[in-house]
Symmetry: C2
Subunit: 128 residues, 2 copies
């Protein structure tokens, strides 16, 4: 798989909350389809469909025995996803910085006397 | 948006390579729909559709002027995605460790004399 394909399949697989919950369950140990299906109140075919998506993306692997095919978490494609996301880290950190600047500016304005001197007070909540 | 919804929309938005490329372009500065469409040889409606997905997920915002609605990267939802993925870090690091153990074991076996003593040599490439 190319890196682009890995990212396409990994992000698509992770976009579903049931699939994320399945990965969460597998983080505490391998499990069969039946064990995975139990907490979701889903049909086995529905769970199997999710497992196929996870398997295709390389996020899980399955045992080979016909009866007992335990699913196992394989987190490697997540590393590629994190590496891709990390390129944008400075943008989300910047946005926190900007929010921080803005809050400090707001607070400074609030503490400065305007028309008439007012007592220092903490910031009130704005309600819409 | 709940955290679950943010993750659903963010991962779904990131699953498409054109949308990831659009985010990459916006990382170097705000851009109009026309500017974003240019390198992709896509119709404006097709690009607009991608932009709507990105906007809904909170990964971009758009200016309010009717004629010039520059798109702007907003990386905050990516932070949530990385935070979620980071919970699995030990699994992908473990898988590297296991690979490393395996390679060391292979190498150790290779260095041990078997049927007849052999010279120490570096690992050869296996060809299929």
């Amino acid at each position: 798989m190319t890196s682009t394909e890995t990212l396409n399949l990994t992000f698509a697989a992770l976009a579903d909350p049931t699939r994320r919950a399945i990965l969460g369950r597998l983080a505490s140990g391998n499990a069969s389809v039946n064990e995975l299906a139990a907490p979701f109140k889903m049909s086995l075919p529905a769970v199997s469909k999710h497992l196929k998506v996870l398997e295709r993306s390389g996020l899980i692997s399955r045992g080979r025995h016909a009866q007992w095919r335990p699913c196992r978490l394989k987190a490697r494609p997540m590393k590629e996803a994190v590496d891709w996301l990390e390129r944008y880290r400075r943008f989300w950190e910047e946005s926190f910085d900007r929010l921080d600047d803005y809050l400090q500016k707001l607070q400074a304005q609030n503490l400065q006397p305007k028309e008439k001197p007012q007592r220092k007070k903490t910031h009130g909540n704005h309600k819409k």
